[in-house]
């Protein structure tokens, strides 16, 4: 079988259920693939891993992938399982923030490590400085939980619809207590979990073929996960995911972001993301060739 190493962006959880399901259900085997799934973590940059040759394909967000491309690591998107963004900002309703206009002078929690771009894009659009002060917002590098809200260290914090949002609920906030700013709804979203490979490897036909089979099997896994969320969550827990209930709920939420679960990249979404990274000067020049439909097309045959 052909060996493929997949580097995830984060720890094992239902966010990546499709890949674990494809592995567990033998979809990869059907395509004659031997897939190794490497979980990520807070300080793992998948871009670095793939540049160092530690993976064949990675799950990454579009903005950091384009940034890496700008730095000479020629990453290219070959499929886009997540068609919608799961990023949100939540504020307690009894807090000072009621609308976007109230952000001025407030403290907002943000994740970094490549996850900060949508936020900066949004603030850019609102014309708010992120340097603090009465006319700007104070940015906190937030931990990956909802403590800042519990401890009232921030007025609003970042959450993923499928993960931290539910931690807030678990911590005792009710849905009606929370004000939600959804990046997708506000039109500030950037593409999230997509599959990326090194561009130069695509010149190898065998590799291309391997990737096409990988994408095909992975999307089959995603479809299965969408249809059988509880089973998918259990598979994730068996693979090392924490907290079964949490994973089940996460799977339900993730399913909402997959769209038709085809893994097709919407060029318009790509262009919007590309424009945002240029606007924010994350990259020095407008990205070119950040994606290819070749693999996806081959996979859908």
């Amino acid at each position: 079988a052909d060996e493929v190493t997949l580097q995830l962006k984060w720890v094992t959880q239902s966010q990546f259920a499709g890949y674990y399901v494809a592995e567990e259900k033998g979809f990869y085997d059907e395509e004659n693939l031997d897939v190794t799934i490497k979980p990520g973590g807070p300080d793992i940059a998948p871009e670095q891993v793939i540049a160092g040759g530690g993976a064949d394909v990675i799950v990454d967000w579009m903005a950091p992938a384009l940034a890496a491309r700008d730095k000479g690591v020629k990453l290219i998107n070959i499929a886009q399982p997540y068609q919608k963004s799961g990023l949100e900002m939540i504020c307690p309703k009894d807090g000072p923030v009621k609308t976007e206009a109230d952000f001025k002078g407030k403290t907002l929690g943000v994740w970094f490590f490549g996850n900060e771009y949508p936020f900066y894009g949004w603030m850019n659009k609102l014309g708010l400085s992120t340097e603090g002060g009465p006319d700007g917002v104070t940015v906190l590098k937030q931990s990956f939980d909802v403590q800042p809200l519990v401890q009232k260290q921030a007025d609003c914090i970042s959450v993923m619809t499928y993960n931290e949002y539910w931690q807030a609920i678990d911590a005792g906030f009710k849905a009606e207590d929370l004000l939600v700013f959804n990046y997708t709804q506000l039109g500030n979203d950037m593409l999230e979990d997509g599959l990326y490979v090194m561009e130069d490897k695509l010149s190898d036909a065998a590799f291309k073929d391997k990737m096409a089979r990988f994408v095909k099997a992975s999307m089959k896994g995603w479809k299965y996960a969408m249809e059988n969320p509880d089973e998918a969550a259990e598979i994730v827990v068996d693979a090392g995911g924490q907290d079964e209930n949490h994973q089940k709920r996460m799977m339900g939420e993730v399913a909402k972001l997959l769209g038709d679960a085809s893994g097709k990249l919407d060029p318009a979404a790509y262009e919007r993301t590309a424009k945002l990274v240029v606007d924010q000067k994350i990259v020095s020049k407008a990205p070119e060739g950040g994606y290819t439909t070749e693999i996806f097309d081959a996979a859908s045959k």
Partner: protein, 379 residues
Amino acid sequence: MMRALSWQSLVAVLLLLAALFQLPLANVPIAMTAPAVAWTTLILVYGFLLAGIGADTFMRSRLWRGIVLFLCAHLATVFLFTLISDENGLARPGFYVVLAACWLLAWRCVEILSGLQPRSRAGRIILALIIPAIFGAWILIIWEAVTRGLGIPFILLPPPSAVFTKLIFSLSVIAADVNQTIFKAVLAGYLMGCASGFVAAILADRFPFMRRGLLPIGNLVSALPMIGIAPIMVMWFGFDWQSKAAVVVIMTFFPMLVNTVAGLAVTSTMERDLMRTYAAGYWQTLFKLRLPAAGPFVFNALKINSTLALIGAIVAEFFGTPVVGMGFRISTEVGRMNVDMVWAEIAVAAIIGSLFYGGVALVERAVTFWHPSFRNGKA
């Protein structure tokens, strides 16, 4: 006077001969048209190296031999690097062979300098600085040669020259980070942690019951992975420097406690009996005998803590910060693929850490000058 060729020189000669079979040393980029330049460089490199070997073999004065070797080895290295400076991944095996010859001569130079016994204080200080400096420089030179020569991807390991450039151009950002991490978190935490550890040690000393209860616990806690509490401290004390300082306080408290208590116990029975014969009180004995005697131990803790404090603060910043600070910068810039910035911060951290440590060591030398370890300064 001719003496036997030192083994470093001998091996260097052999390496230089071997390299002749490996020419050219580096692929010349197509853009660079004049091969004559490459040849001139090669001749210069060989010339300097052979001059160095000659000096090592024929010169009389140790000092001058050291100086000439130093110049020859490093000038040769500089010219060698011009061969691969245009582009990454140019070096061929011969390059490394010649580099190894340069390194051997530098080693020989260090050996000669180590053998010098300068009479003047200034001479000794200069020597004490220059020898490790050569060693450090060669770590950087080899690093540079490997990253550039092999064309290692920038985001895995940038060459030191790129790190240095980045450092120079980002001074204002780094200054803000240093201010946040070092001057707020580390300094405050260090002072509080050391002071409270010291006071706790004296309390433990005054009340034996407390000592017997606290010390086993202190010994235990000082072996614990205190890094694990960083996320908890962030949870409790918020995102700003206070939580980092709290981590530093906890990490520095126990080493200080344990060391000071040990230090307070070092006085000999006879020294303490002397105080008893004067019918001296507890505090008189403490201030006139036991604290001065504990000095070396207290400074030991201060030195250990100086590196612990830095590491603690930086790691704590991984778990949540305002958007400034060395730990913040390191973790976010990795995410942004600005690896040169990461290394620049690390370099600054190392320099500040070394200065911090060195400063404490100097104060130690001034305060505990009487301790035998400073007296018989046997090299």
